[in-house]
């Protein structure tokens, strides 16, 4: 079992995937926040999911799914990088690490030992909007997972020594995931540039100096504010019986006191009024291009058509970007599009491409633009639209194969909006017309609404030479970069 990623933070993506599998497109799509297609829903979850809210405000979702003798218990807290104050970036993720450090009755070591002893698998992740914990067990042992989650929701020990050690671990995590990964740095800088005001511009793992600035009391205050039953959802899916489970859940969780509602995130990103461009110059082998357009979230009806557009444009080898930029006229080794509207606030619609050796980011950007403009001029075909709908439907059906995956979907959607949107989303997708796709392409995929990021490879020898920068700008506009959106 190679899984040693305790305290994973999905720095760029909403995606809860713990690793990207394939080199190239998948890895680099993940970089930019981009869950490929959105989870579409088959309209049946409402009939299968039991929902209740305990007296202390804890939302409970139970899905009886007996096809495999396993169960997943997950606690989703409605807190992520989005909720961090300036100067404290990364605190949500640090909080997640500290949740494994034990309580007065169950030490961190004992916590792990108990789960292991019962054959459980556990981990957690932090995103922009969510912090989620899971334990998967053979179904009859799921009660242990519930006990441990209730205990640490109520009684976490936050010792100074543990805090100091874990801060060092998180600093190493940042070095591993971001500082030594040119593509990840570009993604971080792009986000920081795309968002001037909204906290989505901040890295989930935190800026290095903020990591060094946290205190143990910051964590303790964060825990009190956000790790409250009224700010969480408990999801249990698998071979369980609701009638047996619910009394147990009530006994374990209902006594945990409710807390005052956490402060709302009031900042709204102002409309972008002109293209922003940013370069990252770093030792790397090849350039990299990221393009991010502001786009609405799942509560907006345009999210359906934008989801279809992302698939038509860049959702596979038969999609337009791959077909033109990788296959017909090879300029890039991959070219993808991605859009995930499952956020409480509007986020981004992204394009990503990796130029081939000898090709420039400029050429590739021009080719991506050509495809975007073609859709804006000619629209999409009925067959393309049908393909996008088929993919979203089938993705949802495949997601039914894993109770862990289903529980994650429910928890994620409930935390960012409502799990019921899983049902209504596919209904919405089914109603999308080619005209809708054309309209959203013309509305959102416009230069004034986008941020373009380019990784400019610098060889070690040239590092100190003020070499001429690659010019990502392709239309003869000023190459001077706009001031980067501030998050520091």
């Amino acid at each position: 079992m190679p899984g040693l990623t305790r305290g994973k933070e999905s720095a760029m993506a909403w995606s809860t995937k713990r690793h990207t599998h394939r080199r190239g497109s998948a890895a680099l799509a993940a970089l930019l926040l981009i869950g490929l297609a959105t989870p579409a829903a088959a309209g049946t979850l409402a009939e299968r999911v039991f929902e209740t809210t305990l007296a202390n405000g804890l939302k409970v979702l139970i899905l009886e799914e007996p096809k495999a003798p396993v169960a997943s218990a997950q606690v989703w807290y409605k807190v992520g990088a989005r909720n961090e104050p300036a100067g404290k970036t990364g605190l949500a993720h640090m909080m997640e690490h500290m949740m494994f450090k034990g309580t007065p009755t169950v030490s961190g070591k004992e916590y792990e030992a108990r789960i292991q002893r019962h054959g459980g698998m556990n981990n957690a992740h932090t995103g922009m909007d969510v912090t989620a914990y899971y334990v998967d067990f053979a179904a009859e042992r799921i009660g242990l997972g519930l006990e441990l989650e209730a205990d640490r929701m109520a009684h976490l020990s936050i010792a100074e020594q543990d805090f100091q050690t874990e801060r060092a671990v998180v600093a190493e995590e940042r070095r591993l995931r971001v500082d030594d990964q040119p593509a990840q740095i570009l993604g971080e800088v792009l986000r920081a540039t795309a968002f001037l005001a909204h906290p989505y511009g901040r890295p989930t793992i935190g800026w290095s100096s903020d990591i060094q600035g946290w205190t143990r009391d910051d964590v303790a205050a964060f825990y009190r504010t956000y790790y409250a039953p009224n700010n969480a959802t408990l999801v249990v899916a698998g071979a369980v019986k609701r009638d047996e489970l619910l009394p147990r859940i009530r006994a374990l969780f209902e006594r945990i006191p409710r807390q005052p509602a956490p402060p709302p995130v009031v900042t709204r990103e102002p409309p972008q009024q002109g293209e922003r461009r940013v370069l990252v110059r770093k030792e790397a082998e090849l350039p990299l291009l990221l393009v991010a357009y502001h786009a609405p979230n799942i509560t907006h009806p345009d999210s359906y058509a934008l989801s279809a557009l992302a698939i038509i444009l860049g959702g596979g080898e038969s999609a337009r970007l791959h077909r033109q930029v990788v296959y017909e006229t090879p300029l890039a080794s991959y070219a993808v599009a991605g859009y995930n509207p499952a956020h409480p606030d509007p986020f981004l619609f992204g394009l990503s491409a990796g130029p081939l050796p000898g090709k420039t980011a400029e050429e590739v950007e021009r080719a991506l633009d050509t495809e975007v403009e073609r859709i804006q001029r000619e629209g999409v075909t009925e067959r393309e639209l049908m393909k996008a709908k088929n993919q979203m439907e089938s993705e949802f059906i495949f997601s039914q194969d894993s109770v862990h995956g289903l529980a994650s979907l429910l928890g994620h959607y409930e935390t960012v909006a409502s799990w019921r949107l899983l049902d209504s989303f596919l209904d919405g997708v089914r109603t999308v017309t080619a005209d809708d796709v054309l309209r959203v392409a013309r509305t959102y995929l416009v230069p004034d609404n986008r941020t373009v990021g380019v990784l400019v490879p610098v060889t070690p020898q040239r590092e100190k030479v003020p070499a001429a920068p690659a010019r990502p700008d392709v239309r003869g506009e000023p190459t001077e970069l706009p001031v980067k959106g501030g998050c520091q």
Partner: protein, 446 residues
């Protein structure tokens, strides 16, 4: 899992056996059915009706270890070109057909095996099987497709060099295996990929991609008889190969410690340490699994505790025993800030020595075994996992009752076994060490 991509790619195919590091509930039925088709293809099936999907895993002994001499990357390039054109379909026609129905069809090479995976909705099974048979039997490797794919592969190889973890892992494998085929990256090098010819791909395909070397596992919402009918028309005329395949010998053990350091402008030292170990068929396999779990296999392991929990030196630290059919290795990896590299290496070696010197407590042994057996249902909770397990069981010749046999093997492991296999199969003296770091800050001792 933050196991580096390179390691993961290797493990995914070769060490599927490690997924078996778990046990079945007593009395569980066989995982599926097995039969050998006339052309030698082994068919494994399991019915799973809860969700209307079908997943297919096809393994063929056509991995990178069979690359022609001097042409690393041939198997990998061949695999990637399977979906890029057949005698009747172009690459866009293949991708359009599978993506229109919301399915997926991928092919990739590992060290020992070519792996082709298909997933489709039940109603689209014919579409998927048509494509699967076509890409296996009739790929064309046109010069245009070859030229394009080579460039993509080379771009991937170069981007991999941006990842210090991958660079370190590849350097480590080269130290461990020397000139043995296992020491080469599956995807080849920029130079070797450039030099691969169409004729070599055609020959490799003809020699290796053949039914008598294939394992086809199918899990889904249909019975074996119906499935066989659908397979007959597509695979029935596929002729077995004639050439006898030479399997590379197992690599030799290391004669001495070897170290490679690579300078890179990075903030962390990326460290890989280890040596050849046992293949899957070795009788010590089960004891080694338990031993490695205690040493570096989880959140309670010696390595995790000493290096992360107590010292905060690393985010990702652990060890793995990859046990392939032909060869296996023991790999310990971690990343820590440049300045702490020497301390972390010493701590890691100290844990290996401790594993070899101190008997494991009864409680720790029981916990490790309980984890490995108790988590078994989680290894089989999706169609994709079941299909992978079926194919792996066949490749390693473990038998379809393996899921009930495994816990028995595991339960038999004693504390004395753990100590013995640690002393036999871990070596704190003769190992390979690769470090990619800013060497001006690491102060490594020689």
């Amino acid at each position: 899992m933050t196991l580096r991509r390179a390691a993961r790619r290797f493990l995914a195919l070769l060490a599927a056996a490690m997924l078996l590091a778990a046990a079945a509930p007593a009395g569980a039925a066989a995982l599926g059915r097995r039969e050998v088709l006339e052309n030698g293809m082994v068919l494994l099936t399991a019915e799973r009706t809860a969700v209307p999907i079908v997943t297919v895993s096809l393994l063929i002994r056509a991995g990178a270890i069979y690359d022609p001499p001097g042409k690393p990357g041939t198997a990998s390039l061949m695999a990637q070109l399977l979906t890029q054109g057949t005698t009747t379909r172009t690459a866009p026609q293949i991708s359009e057909a599978i993506e229109f129905v919301g399915g997926s069809l991928t092919a990739e090479a590992g060290q020992e095996l070519l792996s082709v995976s298909l997933s489709v909705l039940r109603k689209d099974l014919d579409v998927g099987l048509d494509l699967l048979a076509d890409i296996l039997r009739n790929p064309t490797f046109t010069p245009a497709d070859l030229a394009r794919k080579k460039q993509e592969v080379i771009a991937g190889i170069r981007r991999d060099q941006e990842d210090p973890g991958t660079v370190s892992y590849q350097a480590w494998r080269a130290l461990v295996y020397g000139n043995h085929p296992f020491g080469r990256p599956v995807e080849g090098t920029e130079a070797s990929v450039s030099a691969i010819t169409r004729e070599e791909l055609v020959r490799f395909h003809a020699d290796f991609v053949r039914p008598d070397q294939a394992i086809l596992a199918v899990v889904g919402d249909l019975g074996p008889e119906e499935l066989k009918g659908r397979l007959a028309s597509r695979f029935g005329g596929w002729e077995p190969g004639r050439r006898t395949l030479a399997v590379p010998p197992a690599p030799p053990l290391l004669a001495a410690r070897s170290v490679r350091t690579i300078q890179k402008a990075v903030t962390q030292a990326n460290i890989n340490l280890g040596h050849p170990a046992i293949p899957r068929s070795h009788p010590d396999f089960y004891a080694v699994q338990v031993m490695n779990h205690l040493l570096g296999g989880g959140f309670t392991s010696l390595l995790f505790t000493a290096i992360r929990e107590e010292r905060g030196l690393a985010y990702d630290v652990g060890s793995h025993v990859s046990a392939g059919k032909i060869a296996g290795d023991f790999n310990l990896s971690l990343q820590t800030k440049n300045e702490a590299a020497q301390e972390a290496i010493e701590l890691a070696l100290a844990q290996i020595r401790r594993m070899r010197e101190q008997p494991v407590s009864a409680e720790a042994l029981a916990d490790a075994k309980a984890y490995l057996t108790g988590s078994f249902p989680l290894r089989l909770d999706t169609s994709r996992k079941v299909v992978g397990m079926l194919a792996s069981i066949e490749y390693h010749g473990l038998g379809l009752d393996y899921v009930t046999e495994y816990p028995r093997h595991l339960e038999a492991v004693t504390a004395a076994d753990v100590l013995r296999v640690a002393r036999t199969h871990l070596d704190p003296e003769r190992y390979a060490l690769a470090v990619v770091a800013d060497l001006t800050k690491t102060q490594l001792s020689p």
